[in-house]
């Protein structure tokens, strides 16, 4: 041991050794960073200017901050409504996805259910399927659930069951259903990996103490898997908040659009209305929540990102 004393605090240089190459890369990165930061600042600054200012000089600073742009974006351009839709859809789907998938992952890894292994591969197979394959068939399937007016079991003048205007196409509920389902393969995959790291002995000793499988899951494994659940929830949040393709296909009602689709239609409308600075404000509204989450949770996100890919 004494012979290697000099290695004790040694952290090896794994990357490129310092030298000319590093200096060139530094210059490239600095230019890259300058461009990224500048474009972001430009968006924020321009969202506070007037249209006339923008056209006369695209680069200038606002003479006086035009908060009215945000008001226009939020109300007239309906970004407020879109934000509400996005919040409802995203939070509900992430919640459902995590609850349902954690139950499935527990059943696959910690119970003696004989179909556990085939089920794992059944869920895993979904990760190889490009989601766009589902667009048309899902459109057909969800259409079958449309109920305009359904009344069952009359009791005198009343109906015991009366469903009116229940739609899964062009509805937030339908979108929540889609996102929850699309998230299942990934979430089950990551959570089974996480549950496998937890000792099965815990379940056995809980069984000895008289706990049934449900209690063991709810009281022991769910609290223990909190870090995994949070990581999965963050990724599903980012995915659902930013998802564009399915929201574009399944939502056409102006009042039900989510933020990405809403911003896109605002961008299209701007080509005729020429209210560009409000579009910049809308852009800030769409980007801000995820960027804030990223700044707060950067380490968790970058670490979680590599769980699936590198350790597998």
């Amino acid at each position: 041991m004494a012979r290697n004393e000099h290695l004790k605090d040694y952290t090896p240089t794994r990357g490129l050794p310092s030298g000319l190459g590093n200096k060139i890369i530094f210059v490239i990165l600095a230019a890259w960073g300058a461009f990224s930061v500048m474009s972001l600042l430009w968006i924020v600054v321009t969202s506070l200017r007037t249209d006339q200012d923008l056209f006369s000089s695209p680069w200038g600073l606002p003479s006086a901050p035009q908060w009215v742009n945000y008001k226009i974006a939020w109300t007239i351009a309906k970004m407020g409504q879109y934000t509400a839709n996005s919040v409802i859809v995203t939070l509900s789907s992430v919640f459902c996805m995590v609850v349902i998938s954690s139950m499935a992952a527990y059943a696959i890894t910690k119970t003696d259910f004989f179909a556990a292994k085939p089920l794992f591969f059944y869920f895993l197979a979904g990760m190889a399927v490009p989601a766009s394959l589902l667009l048309v068939p899902l459109f057909m399937t969800l259409k079958n659930f449309n109920i305009r007016d359904l009344a069952l079991f009359s009791v005198g003048d009343y109906w015991l069951i009366h469903i009116k205007d229940f739609y899964l196409i062009d509805s937030r509920l339908g979108l929540i259903l889609i996102y929850t389902t699309l998230g299942i393969p990934f979430t089950v995959f990551v959570l089974t990996g996480f549950f496998r790291t937890l000792p099965t002995a815990l379940a056995e000793s809980a069984a000895v103490d008289g706990a049934n499988e449900y209690t063991t899951f709810y009281r022991i494994f769910l609290p223990l898997s909190k870090p995994g659940l949070i990581t999965v929830a963050i990724f599903n949040f980012l995915y659902t908040w930013n998802e564009y393709q399915f929201a574009l296909v399944f939502i056409s009602n102006e009042r039900l659009k989510t933020l990405p689709v809403g911003l896109y239609s605002l961008a299209l409308a701007t080509q005729h209305s020429n209210n560009w600075t409000a579009l910049f404000a809308g852009l800030v509204i769409l980007m801000l929540p995820t960027l804030l989450i990223f700044i707060i949770l950067e380490d968790r996100i970058t670490k979680g990102l590599t769980v699936g890919a590198v350790k597998a």
Partner: protein
Amino acid sequence: MIVRGKHRWWHFFTHPGAVLVAPAFILYTAFFVYPAAMAFYVSLTRWSGFSPVRTFIGLDNFRELYHESLYWRAVSNNFIFMFGAGAAIFFFALLFAAALSNRNFPGRRFFKTMLFAPYVVSIVAIAVLWTFVYDPNWGLLNSMLSFFARFLVRLGLLSPDRAQVGVLWLGSWGMAMPSLSAVMVWAGIGFYVILLMAGIDRIPDDLYEAARIDGANEKQSFFHITLPLLRDVLVIAISIHIIGALKQFGLIWAMTRGTNYTHTMETYMYDVAFEPRTMSFRMGYGTAMTVVLFFMVILLTFTFNIIMRKAEVEY
């Protein structure tokens, strides 16, 4: 173990494992597996999406796809993005990851954050941001160029009549493809840098220590330990990129809507099946495209991984 008594057929359904897996199983089967299987049938039909009439036409959709030049254009665009943007992404990602893994690299943390930040931003926001950057009249890029041009004019290096900058970055196929690829590189590189950095970080310390004891310098340990051992992660990263390039949709749709022949498979599929402006609503035809896409994804990831594995044995 808990004694459950005599086994009856319904015990299969009352097993806690079955009960816990049921919600995920039912949702996934009804709204994922069933539609995915259904897609193969739908691709053999003609259907407008509105009428209840769905006609079985065999392989006609695929035959038509084979003869449609616009579709082949879309496929080739996907591959151009795969190779063009891919080459740039992996060149820079390897360079950046290698440099940023060096703990004394100045501004390491800032650069990591900055490169990765676009990953969390909606692709639509990125598309709109870059439409501003590329706007021919007041966009960031053209105003930068004309600022530079005015600067050159003042220095007398450029005649004033040639200082009018009005590059149409998305105005033609030849300009739009590199412009769109640049956005893909900007938006996508962070993910790969993080992935490669994690791969570099995972290499055990003893290898470097052993190399050091054997008298290897830092350069030698980078080229003989870090790079060869990064291979597995690189294979995974490239597979992810291949799949991503085949599924390119949001960025293209929000930036060009497939104009100037910039369609990819998925934007063209959306255009043909769903876009209200196009008014074609050919659901069966669109699904045929996604079925082809499905096989492409499976085939390409398979062959890529097999090729890489073979090479590994030779190594």
